[in-house]
Amino acid sequence: MIKFIAKRLGSGLVVLFVVSVLTFTLLYTSSGSIAQNILGDQATPEQVALKEEELGLDQPLFVRYFAWLGDALTGNLGASWFTSEPVANALATRIPVTMTMVFTAMILIAICAALIGVVAAVKRGWVDRVVQIGAIIGDSIPGYVIGVFLVTILAIQLGFFPATSTISPGVGPEAWVYSMTLPVIALLINGVTGGAQQIRSAVIKQLERDYVRTLRSRGIGEREILFKHVLRSAAPAGLTVLSLQLIGMLGGVVIIEQIFALPGMGPLAVTATTQTDLPVVMGVVMYTVVVVIVVNLLVDILNGWLNPKVRVS
């Protein structure tokens, strides 16, 4: 098992390295005259050249990359070109907001989708039809559109919730709950409808497996078959569904935060993107990829624990 984890961890690190190389190359070779961009149109060529030297842009790409990598390994992701704030600091103040939201939504999705999906698979009938229709509706309306309407109706028209965040450093948990309720709902609706449907299919697939019939023929009760055997075998598929949901949510949360004016990673990323603030963009990409890799590693480990065959091979 330790060998298995080490292998997965190793491949995760390779992915992280490859993504960092690709992103760095893409950002620093394509975005035109960065110094000009920062200084504005009035800047003289001399000023631009000076700025380029200051930012190290006059050096070859791979030199810059390894400089960045060396710094990054010590936790230094560079500083914003516009605010001079260290990227690591900027991320550190914003990540708690984003990740609280993402993981709250994720936990709720996991619980709701699994419950609804399993019930739909086992009971079929009307529950199943509701799940199917729900999946179609959920697939048809992007989460941020749901978010926009939640704000418009529940916050602006009815005044149940604040339309924009009341989160600031040092506020109590009440403000968090108050501010986060709508964004979390907007984040999780698609996840619940889609997840429930996929978990339903995974469970049905397992229920139709030969070994389930054989277990029945041996006198094992339905409850034990469902909870011990079927759900265990369906779990890897369910975990994969959830991990893909999480990856999608790391992007979706950017828009949701913008809608609810939450001081998370989203506004930081959007501003950095429009300003071509490359160190910040790079930092955001790296952070999300690390989150994804860690989550995938956890999913792999859980799958390995659930399925002995994965562990061996």
Binding site: S140, T214, S217, E224, G251, T273
Partner: protein, 619 residues
């Protein structure tokens, strides 16, 4: 849109030998019969038409601003009102549709152009290319789409087309995986082998035989991906990261959101347009899938119904009176007594497809009864109704089943009583399945799967059950029971797994064992061993056995009596000797002929040279 639908229709899952036009028309017709299909097509075609005609029908240019008329309510000039710059909402919606649909097509096109060929090659040739592409796929799939698009935006500036190309690349794994899986599943099919042998080049095999398999799933996938592309493209525009000179639904949504306190109606139109378009695509994908699945079902049904439609009428005419009569005659005591059993499956059109009809037989303790027939003859369905393990949608449409004098299916009941059978299953009736590997739960050790039923059914302790399990494993001829006990199913061979399943079947000392083709999935050498084992156990424990098989060799080897089934009905019954020596029904004769012709008899027959061995197998 109409283009892709047509292609979808051709791609019914009949890869070779079917005339394309016939299949297309039937799938197309089914799609059009389905209200969901019609509605989605109508919505999408309307939106597409409006988008194409936007320059003609839009009353204003997309960026024409009447600054004296901002945030106006709908009137005769601006039928949906105007935004904060005085631009006409309806016109912008139309031009937005154009851009949205084009960007969705671009994204799907790029994704197909990358994912499809890569998937075909990886699936067909496997090897290094597959390994590398799998690795690339795992990277692409661990990147959150929107974050990547932010990076692309930072690198290349605000261009809808560049971001949609990038998103196409990012989402291409979904086509890749779909294609690879589909190709892998047909790569070694006979017709592909045949094409290879007949000298077709790989390229034309891929083009002709394999590509046709993946067309349908690709169309369905494209509908889904176009929807995702629209959502993410509009999301980027909503964030203000798009091209400011273009009217898009995302920009309009954001414009509406900025003015939500003044004119919330501005939000409604772009949101509605998005929901309709994406919803239309989702529904279309579902409708095509349904049309294709229905096609398979109908084809399958036709095969069976043609044989059974004649008997179905007779069955309908037969009232329950007869099954009552059958009970009255059933005075003699058998271990299992099946009387006039009928099993059917309700169909979509309300009729019932019969798979077992008017079947009667009995089994006594210490006796092996063979149920013989080809696939689809209803022999397994009969066996499963005795076990009470029919699929959920199956119905008992006539007759009764008694086990040891008690009804498990009483006359007039349309389901097997799970309540009664759950007391018998495992304890007194047990089951040996056909395919050893798939009948063991891969997540649990063999020991666990042997011990648990004994603990549950016999109520003995785990330690005791473990002792018994080890003894059973020895009994079924496993030389190192301790090791097998601790092994996971994938760590043992097929023959070994079948021995484990036999051990499981006899573990709670049943009175009746139902074996469904217990040797079919095994090597010939192992088959003989397993049959020997079955006979030895049956004699030692004095149990009744129902052996379901298509193989008269197995029957000759093992059975005392045999019933022959064809198309759900029982055609002949007798002792093995009678049936093998002197089959009366032509069906049995053909079955026997086809079994023995050109094969060495499985019995110890010392035949004189030239004697017709195939006519005289000794049971």
């Amino acid at each position: 849109m109409s283009d892709s639908v047509e292609t979808a229709a051709i791609a019914a899952p009949v890869p070779a030998g079917q005339s394309g036009t016939v299949v297309r028309s039937t799938v197309m017709r089914r799609l059009l019969k389905n209200p969901m299909g019609i509605a989605s097509l109508a919505i999408l075609l309307t939106i597409a038409a409006l988008a194409i005609l936007a320059p003609v029908i839009a009353p204003f240019e997309e960026n024409f601003a009447n600054i004296s008329k901002t945030l106006a309510a709908p009137d005769s000039v601006n039928i949906m009102g105007t935004d904060s710059a005085g631009r006409d909402t309806w016109s912008r919606l139309l031009f937005g549709a154009q851009l949205t649909l084009l960007s969705a097509l671009l994204c799907a096109g790029v994704a197909i152009a990358i994912g499809l060929p890569a998937g075909l090659i990886a699936g067909y040739y496997a090897g290094k290319f597959e390994a590398v592409s799998n690795w690339v796929v795992s990277i692409l799939m661990s990147l959150p789409g929107l974050i990547v698009l932010l990076t692309i935006r930072a690198a290349f500036g605000p261009s809808v087309w560049i971001s949609m190309i990038a998103f196409g690349i990012l989402i291409s794994p979904s086509y890749f995986r779909l294609t690879r899986t589909a190709v892998q599943s047909v790569r070694n099919e006979l017709y592909v082998d045949a094409a290879r042998v007949s000298g077709l080049s790989d390229l034309s095999i891929i083009a002709r035989h394999i590509f046709s398999v993946v067309r349908a799933p690709i169309i369905i996938q494209t509908a889904a991906i176009a929807g995702v592309a629209i959502a993410i493209q509009s999301g980027l525009e909503f964030l203000g990261l798009g091209d400011p000179t273009k009217a898009t639904w995302g920009v309009m949504l954001s414009e509406g959101f900025k003015n939500v306190y003044l004119t919330p109606m501005l939000l409604l139109w772009p949101a509605l347009a998005m929901a309709l378009t994406i919803g239309g695509l989702v529904l279309l994908g579902n409708a095509i899938r349904d049309a294709l699945e229905d096609g398979e079902k109908i084809k399958h049904r036709k095969k069976v119904v043609s044989a059974e439609s004649t008997t179905a009428d007779a069955a309908k005419a037969r009232p329950s009176r007869k099954s009552v009569a059958a009970v009255e005659t059933g005075t003699e005591h058998h271990l299992v007594k099946v009387t006039n059993l009928g099993v059917g499956y309700p169909q979509a059109d309300g009729s019932i497809k019969k798979v077992v009809d008017d079947v009667s037989f009995h089994v006594d303790r210490g006796e092996i009864l063979g149920i013989v027939g080809e696939s689809g003859s209803g022999k397994s369905q009969t066996a499963f109704s005795i076990l009470g393990l029919l699929p959920d949608n199956a119905r008992i449409v006539g007759g009764s089943i008694q086990f040891d004098g008690n009804y498990t299916v009483a006359p007039g009941e349309d389901r097997v009583s799970q309540e009664r059978l759950s007391k018998l299953r495992g304890k007194r009736i047990s089951y040996i399945p056909q395919e050893p590997m798939s009948n063991l739960d891969p997540a649990f050790t063999i020991g666990y799967q042997l011990v648990t039923p004994m603990v549950r059914v016999l109520g003995i302790s785990k330690a005791e059950a473990r002792q018994r399990a080890l003894k059973l494993l020895t009994d079924v001829g496993i030389t190192n029971p301790e090791r097998t006990f601790n092994a996971y199913p994938h760590e043992v061979s097929g023959g070994m797994a079948q021995r484990v399943l036999i051990a499981g079947a006899i573990s709670c000392e049943p009175d009746l064992v139902i074996a469904d083709e217990p040797t079919t999935a095994l090597d010939v050498t192992v088959q003989a061993d397993v049959l020997d084992l079955l006979r030895e156990l049956q004699q030692r424990l004095n149990i009744g056995v129902i052996l379901v098989t298509h193989n008269f060799g197995v029957v000759a080897d093992l059975c005392d009596r045999v019933v022959v089934m064809q198309n759900g009905r029982l055609v002949e019954e007798g002792t093995v000797r009678e049936i093998l020596r002197n089959p009366k029904e032509p069906y049995t004769q053909t079955l026997l002929g086809s079994m023995l012709e050109g094969k060495t008899p499985m019995t110890m027959l010392v035949s004189k040279p030239g004697s017709a061995a195939e006519k005289e197998p000794v049971a």
